[in-house]
């Protein structure tokens, strides 16, 4: 067993309360006493028992980091960027407890954490949000736009980003623009499709249902979807551009395009979303919409910290800008 304040007290010849005060930097302790206590604490390698403190203070020194799913449906690069952003901000003060919503929440005891940062990806997450809010959980939702009374919500401009990509294609004389989208239930899919459609409609281009496919947010899914698009349009017109709802799908689509011998970008252009590491290294390099994932996570974590510490939150609802990055995959 590790040392307790009583052990220190015994050695120092003071009461355990004096030790507690010295350790917590109270100014009602003489310097002499404090020094003695701190020295003994260091010698014994004293570590406070946070569960005990927790019981008295009703603080948990942990925060929950909740994902819609931890499995492959969440892109690894996205997950890492989120975790990393949160870790940088909060790891000094809190244990970060990672959870997913997929395997039920019976085992997620919200009372074990001081707050939750929720990386939300789909509308069905709402039930968890409402549940957590009803319990009075300090909650910050990032990634997905959620409207609740005074809920802190940090997102990126998905609609605007998608629209800017498609608008760029239109302005560069691409006419027949396909969309390979993520799963319909994911909010990012919905938003990016909305941006896509808006850009088309703004330019009086009609929306063709056959040019919109589900690529499951995965490389394989993007590949499969592109295959279908190319196959279906064999006797009709092949699209001259594809906007993909993430970079992974764009990468898969690129493979499918290669396989049928079409040239990128001269015969078909392609744009992805997120600006993940692979973009600069596909052949040709992949144009994309840059999404500030790590920054989003960091802002969310900072807001949660402020919320827990009863500070004023300047911008409870933030939407970070996305940015079109043009590379060789469009002409």
């Amino acid at each position: 067993m590790s040392a307790t304040i009583k052990d220190i007290a015994k050695i120092a010849g003071v009461s355990h309360m004096t030790v507690s005060r010295a350790l917590n930097g109270s100014d009602t302790v003489t310097n002499e006493t404090r020094d003695k206590v701190l020295k003994i604490a260091a010698e014994l390698n004293y570590r406070p028992n946070l569960q005990a403190r927790s019981l008295v203070m009703n603080r948990k020194y942990s925060i929950g980091v909740v994902f819609s799913t931890l499995s492959s449906a969440t892109a690894p690069s996205f997950m890492q960027a989120c975790l990393n952003g949160i870790y940088q901000t909060l790891a000094k003060d809190y244990n970060l407890v990672v959870k997913d919503l997929e395997r039920g929440l019976e085992h997620f005891n919200l009372s074990r954490v001081d707050g939750v940062i929720f990386v939300s990806q789909q509308e069905s997450d709402d039930s968890f949000i409402d549940f957590a809010l009803a319990q009075g959980t300090k909650l910050v939702v990032i990634n997905r736009r959620v409207e609740r009374e005074s809920l802190i919500n940090v997102t990126a401009d998905e609609i605007g980003g998608a629209a800017s990509a498609v608008r760029f294609l239109i302005e560069h004389n691409y006419q027949r623009i396909a969309l390979i989208n993520g799963p319909a239930k994911i909010q990012s899919s919905i938003d990016r499709q909305q941006g896509y459609q808006q850009a088309l409609l703004d330019n009086n281009i009609s929306i063709v249902a056959d040019l919109i496919k589900d690529g499951k947010f995965s490389i394989q899914g993007g590949y499969d979807a592109m295959k279908v698009i190319l196959h279906e349009s064999r006797d009709g017109q092949v699209p001259d551009a594809v906007f993909c709802s993430n970079d992974e799908m764009a990468f898969g689509a690129l493979k499918a395009i290669n396989e049928v011998g079409l040239k990128v970008p001269s015969e078909i252009a392609i744009i992805g979303f997120n600006d993940s590491d692979i973009c600069q290294f596909t052949s040709p390099a992949l144009s994309t919409v840059k999404k500030p994932i790590e920054e989003m996570a960091r802002f969310g974590a900072e807001a949660l910290f402020a919320l827990i510490n009863q500070e004023v939150i300047d911008n409870p609802v933030q939407q970070l800008a996305t940015e079109l990055v043009i590379r060789a995959s469009v002409r």
Copy 2:
């Protein structure tokens, strides 16, 4: 504040001990009492205060999941596979607390967890391992071979995997085989280089230092390293094959090869390591050594569970097999 056993006791008209017993399934409680208690507990949405229980039982209901680094030096797909494998096994019983070693350990209070599963990547991790072991922490180390008295250690056969890849190249008449390796401090780099050298020596092929470059385990690094190799060997002989210590670097190297107009696999072959998602979708598809990352994590998590629960560990030291996967990037 949420309900406590005393609240339930008051309503049920019994002592808080009876409530505790009923809730914990003791058989010294009449069915009638138990039912009454459980019903009230459900009505009050009772959740046990685990910090309080923790104080008495000296259990933490949390385990630490420690990475050498959470930042980009750890491949996202690797990190996700590890987390996911551990989560599947342990999330029902424990909160998973994610940590990295990079930003120091002052804030990692080992007494807050019942055990640690350490995804170790480099030799400098040893100091943490020894520190944790000295504290009596229940510890399982995965990914990197570590020899300590009765330490549980789950790894993959990195050396054998690398050797099998290089041996395959030699058997298929590749003569001049380069190595793009990860950072020198990472154990996987050391192991894979050892496998590479062993295969060469076994076949009486001398090791050429100029053909071994550091690709930093990243796409960019692999690209840069390949550039250097191709540039340096302009007037000499260009290698006819490259073995890369992970798939990301192989992906970057592929780009560099493309840029100088060399054909894969007719002019130069390439093999990666891990079998991550991208391999099937590069052009040409990337041969690789498959490493069972998620399985490794799961086995480690199971062993930690057994260790915490004082069960017998069948195989404290496991080395999982790796497997050569040949695709179009070699002829």
